[in-house]
């Protein structure tokens, strides 16, 4: 009852805020000299304050890249921690200019909640973790096995759907909370543990012997995580989208934080010249300066560097579907020209 009422109010407010044109975000950010970027209250590898009080993670670095592209200063970011209840609303009501907070791109959010998603920065999805000694290498190998899962979540439904579609027998052992499911897996009560792959990686790092566990390459659900902006300011959406494309293109072209200056000065590759603004002022297409990508890359590196620094090195997460399209992944930058 209460929930319905809140939903009605939320829908009402979303319509109101969607109606209000959110034009001029770029001017607003330039005037303030700082980008207000919504992040999580703490998700390992995505956004979390480190011991020095600095926000770290993939999501946080995307905020920094946008700030560098827009303002020329990657530190000109005001990180605003948002709870999951606030993450959509804070953007649609203009409290933050963008949110980069492990948010799944869905039709309902994109269409009916007053926000626009920009470009996927991480293809997450429900995966499985097994003990390395079990010898299981694919999700299908779980046939006849038991899987620890939290009850009443889409995770549980996905598992059942997957088993039915693949025509294999999987016995789900359900638990109230994630912690309990993890404990159960650790005490050998099931052969595998299932939840989102990025979470499996951080659970694994918390185990006494992380090397003894493998995350299977198969994902059985789609959780594309993308930064979002308010609906209605197309230019601002372009800026955030193309900054992400720029980070992806930089990796594809071999530009990184160490060689970006050298590449800008001497590369003869026309794609590199365009991306770094040496031949064509590509930043101008979205209202930014010519050094937009140069600033972003020298501050946070290309997409591969960001991924390694935040996910592969600390959490042991493989690139998987997040590899470049040339390496068989899904990361594909639109042509910057």
């Amino acid at each position: 009852m209460m929930k319905t009422r809140i939903m009605v109010l939320a829908a009402l407010a979303a319509t109101v805020s969607a109606g209000a044109a959110h034009a001029g975000t770029l001017e607003k950010v330039r005037e303030a000299g700082v980008l207000a970027c919504g992040v999580s209250e703490g998700v390992p590898g995505f956004s979390n304050p480190n011991s020095e009080g600095r926000w770290e993670g993939l999501d946080a670095d995307v905020c920094r890249a946008v700030a560098a592209a827009v303002l020329g200063d990657a530190d000109a970011v005001r990180f605003v921690p948002l709870s999951s209840k606030q993450k959509i609303l804070a953007v649609s009501s203009g409290q933050v200019e963008m949110t980069s907070r492990t948010t799944t791109w869905t039709m309902k959010r994109d269409g009916a909640e007053g926000v626009d998603f920009t470009q996927v920065i991480f293809f997450d999805g429900q995966g499985f973790m097994v003990r390395a000694e079990s010898g299981i290498t694919t999700a299908k190998g779980l046939d006849g096995g038991t899987v620890c899962v939290t009850t009443g979540t889409t995770t549980e439904l996905n598992l059942a759907d997957f088993a039915r579609a693949q025509n294999i027998q999987i016995e789900a052992v359900v638990f109230e909370g994630k912690r309990e499911a993890v404990e159960a897996y650790l005490t050998d009560r099931c052969d595998a543990l299932t939840t989102d792959a990025s979470q499996l990686a951080s659970f694994r790092m918390s185990f006494p012997d992380p090397g003894a566990h493998t995350i299977l390459p198969n994902l059985i659900s789609k959780e594309p995580l993308a930064p979002l902006v308010a609906h209605g300011d197309n230019n601002w959406k372009d800026i955030v989208s193309w900054t992400v494309y720029g980070l992806l293109a930089a990796e594809e072209l071999g530009i990184n934080s160490a060689n970006v200056d050298e590449m800008a000065a001497s590369s003869s590759n026309p794609d590199v010249q365009r991306l770094l603004g040496s031949s064509v002022d590509t930043g101008n297409f979205v209202g930014l300066g010519p050094s937009w990508m140069k600033d972003a890359i020298s501050a946070v590196g290309n997409y591969g560097e960001i991924f390694d620094r935040n996910l592969t090195i600390p959490l042991g997460l493989e690139r998987g579907v997040n590899a470049q399209w040339k390496d068989g992944g899904l990361m594909y930058a639109m042509p910057i020209r």
Partner: protein, 371 residues
């Protein structure tokens, strides 16, 4: 001669030494018998509890001290089975102040010192009542200026405030603003004209009728939906106002209890002496009422401090929020137990400290009343 009158030194009165108490009435055995084994039910309960302590204590001691790691990094910790204290040491600054710029730590430090000094001065009773009240009212302003920056100090954005500093700040501002507000509401409810009375009762009952978490959601999530973006004040301020309202409604009911305990004769005597009604309330009724309700007022302060931990659901990284995400730092994954143990310890320390301080103030107040 009267030889009998002559006393020799041998006749001087010498008290004999006190006899020892009858056996079994003193010492540890007696204490045990009186306190732990004074009946079959008590004996049974004591045995069960002692057994439980003996059963749990070695495991706890092992985890806390014997098997614990006191120096090293996450890998050293993972090799040991006990607690990982370097984790708490490494995270200590962010637990205290969140992502506040660490080169400016002296500023919250000064604000904290001011709080402690004022608390000490209040206890010693050196300053006059009016001066104390003004000093306490100015304290939150001073703390906000020190933490946020003003008068040429570098400004620190509110989204950077966090950790224990934020919890204490929310509670401090909440308590100091809500006590006067609560007194006004209570007076309105007790002495006000029917309209004022209805307004006060309406406010109190409305706020008390909803849980704090709902108020926080309203302040943080719903309010920005209805106001145009220019009118939206920042998240922290909205939360703070929500907490003040919540606290004021409860304070009002506590204070009303005190008002009702003041005999009518007090007001009548004061009015008969020609003191104006306003002054009668301000200088005769309210001070006595507050003295009566000091214990529950302090209880409310402790409760409010603990309630601040709810702000995590609206995206403020207070002490508990920082505890939670410290356990999510990729560098230190897997040390949640230590984090929550530390949180429990700090909350206990502060709440128990407040409780002792409150009791000390009560005792002083009681001696003042006798005087």
């Amino acid at each position: 001669m009267y030889p009998a009158m002559r006393s020799t030194s041998a006749d001087v009165f010498r008290p004999t030494d006190a006899r020892p108490a009858p056996g079994g009435n003193i010492g540890m055995l007696r204490w045990l018998q009186e306190n732990l084994f004074s009946g079959w039910l008590n004996s049974y309960t004591s045995l069960v509890l002692i057994g439980f302590v003996l059963w749990v204590f070695p495991a706890v001691l092992n985890w806390l001290v014997l098997d614990a790691t006191f120096a090293g990094d996450a890998d050293t910790c993972r090799q040991n089975t006990g607690a990982c204290w370097p984790f708490i040491v490494d995270k200590f600054p962010v637990l205290m102040v969140g992502v506040y710029p660490q080169e400016l730590l002296w500023r919250p430090g000064v604000a904290c010192l001011a709080l402690l000094v004022l608390a000490a001065v209040t206890y010693t009773d050196r300053l006059k009542g009016a001066v104390l009240v003004v000093a306490w009212l100015l304290l939150p302003v001073f703390a906000l200026i020190m933490i946020g920056g003003a008068f040429g100090m570098v400004e620190v954005e509110q989204s950077l405030w966090g950790g224990l500093m934020l919890s204490v700040l929310l509670a401090l501002v909440g308590v100091i603003v809500s006590i006067p507000l609560g007194v006004l509401l209570a007076l309105g409810r007790y002495y006000g004209s029917p309209l004022i009375k209805a307004l006060c009762v309406g406010f109190i009952e409305l706020v008390r009728g909803v849980p704090l978490i709902t108020i926080l959601f309203m302040a943080s999530v719903m309010m920005p939906m209805f106001l145009p973006p220019e009118m939206v004040i920042n998240n922290l301020m909205r939360i703070q106002i929500g907490m003040i309202f919540f606290s004021a409604a409860y304070m009002a009911e506590v204070v009303r209890g005190g008002l009702q305990a003041i005999p009518k004769g007090q007001t009548e005597a004061s009015l008969a002496l020609g003191v104006s009604p306003w002054k009668t309330i301000a200088f005769v009724v309210v001070p006595q009422a507050l003295r009566h309700v000091l214990p529950p007022l302090i209880g409310r302060c402790i409760a409010l401090f603990k309630d601040t931990s709810l702000v995590i659901i609206v995206g403020l990284l207070d002490f508990l929020g920082m505890i939670k995400n410290s356990a999510f730092d990729p560098e230190w994954l897997g040390f949640q137990k230590e984090a929550y143990f530390f949180a429990a310890f700090v909350y206990w320390l502060i709440c128990y400290g407040l409780s002792l301080y409150g009791r000390a103030l009560e005792n002083r107040g009681a001696s003042g009343a006798r005087r």
